[in-house]
């Protein structure tokens, strides 16, 4: 039984003119411990909606999501979620931002700070713990945001275009960083992106989503060896997969809903 599974999930949004538009249409996916699943699709294909449903922030109109096979288990507070933007609280230091999730589940402060400090060092933000978000670069903020998401040690981690707001150089740097620091063996990871290279740098498996309404158009195993350094982009297999993904995306990126 997979750790996380979504079965035939659909979601429509009401429009102000009384009509409705399908955002996600009959999507099924599963992710197990140790797996990094990437959902890739054109902008506006309902990727984020799907993640919000998995996280428990939205209820689907049809279909169900299960954690360890349990469809009725509450998912808010059980699934780690990192957003496109860092969402750091400006009045809290890096350390206090990072420990927010532990604070919410009443982990004693000293213990929470010790755990955060420990992992922060590995995340490359050990020297910034007492700074405020105002004084951090975009890349550093995203590192803190990931630290906050993973500290409560949930089995499932959702990443919603985590590096979207960053410049190309920082994004590439953080992609390498993410695959280094994230111990995939501990959890199931589902990442949403529209960046083909990002999908290939990080994923074990890629699901291509079609344009609105979003449904799974293709599933692809990324059989590139790990670790994947910067120069993996020159690997012939990488180029081949990239071309395959790009052409698939192009075919499914016209809206027909």
């Amino acid at each position: 039984m997979p750790l996380l599974s979504a079965t035939n999930v659909s979601k429509r949004f009401q429009l102000s003119d009384g009509g409705s538009v399908a955002a996600v249409d009959d999507v099924s996916l599963a992710a197990d411990v140790g797996e990094f699943v990437v959902i890739i699709g054109p902008s506006g294909c309902g990727k984020s909606t799907l993640l919000n449903i998995i996280a428990g922030l939205m209820t689907p109109d049809a279909g169900e999501v299960a954690l360890n096979g349990d469809v009725s288990a509450p998912r808010l507070g059980k699934v780690a979620y990192m957003h496109q933007i860092d969402l750091l609280l400006p009045w809290r230091t890096v350390l206090a931002n990072a420990t927010l999730g532990l604070e919410i589940v009443n982990v004693p402060r000293a213990e929470a700070e010790a755990r955060a400090t420990d992992i922060a060092r590995r995340f490359g933000i050990g020297d910034f713990l007492n700074l405020y978000p105002l004084n951090l670069s975009g890349g550093m903020k995203q590192r803190v945001a990931l630290l906050r998401a993973v500290l409560p040690e949930r089995d499932t981690l959702l990443l919603d275009e985590p590096f979207k707001a960053l410049d190309a150089i920082t994004r590439a740097e953080l992609q390498i960083w993410l695959s280094d620091v994230l111990d995939r063996s501990q959890r199931a990871t589902v990442m949403v992106t529209h960046d083909v290279e990002e999908a290939l740098m990080l994923g074990d498996r890629v699901l291509v989503m079609s344009a609105r309404p979003g449904s799974i158009a293709m599933e692809l195993d990324i059989d590139l060896p790990r670790p994947r350094p910067h120069d993996v982009v020159a690997n012939p297999r990488f180029v081949e997969l990239k071309w395959l993904l790009l052409s698939t995306l192009k075919r499914y990126s016209t809206v027909n809903g």
């Binding site: 922030l57 808010l76 933007i85 969402l87 609280l89 009045w91 927010l100 919410i104 105002l134």
Partner: protein, 281 residues
Amino acid sequence: MPEESKTSLGGAVYHSALNDEQRKFIVRLRSFVADWGSAIALAAAGLLVWEISVKQFNVQEWLLPPVSHIFAELWSERMKLLSNAWVTAQEILVGFAVSLTFGFAMASGMFWSRMLERSIYPFLIASQTIPVFTLAPILIIWTGTGLAPKVIIIVLFTFFPITISLMTGFRSVDPDMVAMFRTLGASRSQLFTKLHLPSAMPYLFSGLKVAAVVSVIGAVIGEWIGSGAGLGWFIKSAGARNQTDTAFAAIFTLSIMASMMFLLIAAIQARVLRNYPGSDA
């Protein structure tokens, strides 16, 4: 051995034996002059024009006294001015504290309960259409001429900006932030104390600044209608005796007090919001 240091003043480089303290003082002085210099110069020019024209055109003392007389009055009446200012200050401080408590309870209540909001909000708006000035005589009949009516008037003047700014602040929270808190498993009360309340601080402070200024007006109105002390009463009785210079001295004191109140809040704001992005504090 004292270290000789290079200091740059006005573009030229001097070798001087200034210590760190002195150098900091110079930097502070220059930034003070940059911030306040033009306002101070304008005030000085205005007062000078006042002084000269009053003397030049032989304006009657009881119509418009020269500035120098007002300052002389400020000095000679300083004890009376201070003791009356203290009365007014107490009214303002108590009124402000009550207003903040009341406004916070009101805004939080309306944030927590949509029904409470729907029932209270129209009256909140309606309350602002009543000129508070007209209530003052009634309040004095009900509560006498002591502290109580002034506090009530100040609260009537200030709870509105405080309540509305807090409510706006609570509502302005980014929905993505709320989503982030919910995925971490936050309860409604955790959301309120850890997200909505701190997010509302920049809004609260703009409301407090407005409240600070109008609270002085509220106190003066209360004292005007019925009182035996306070700067408002002092101005009124000086006016009744045609002591224009005394009245001006009291008005001057009052405006200093209001400015101090404003600056105090601005200082607290700068401290509380020092890490908020884009704060104008």
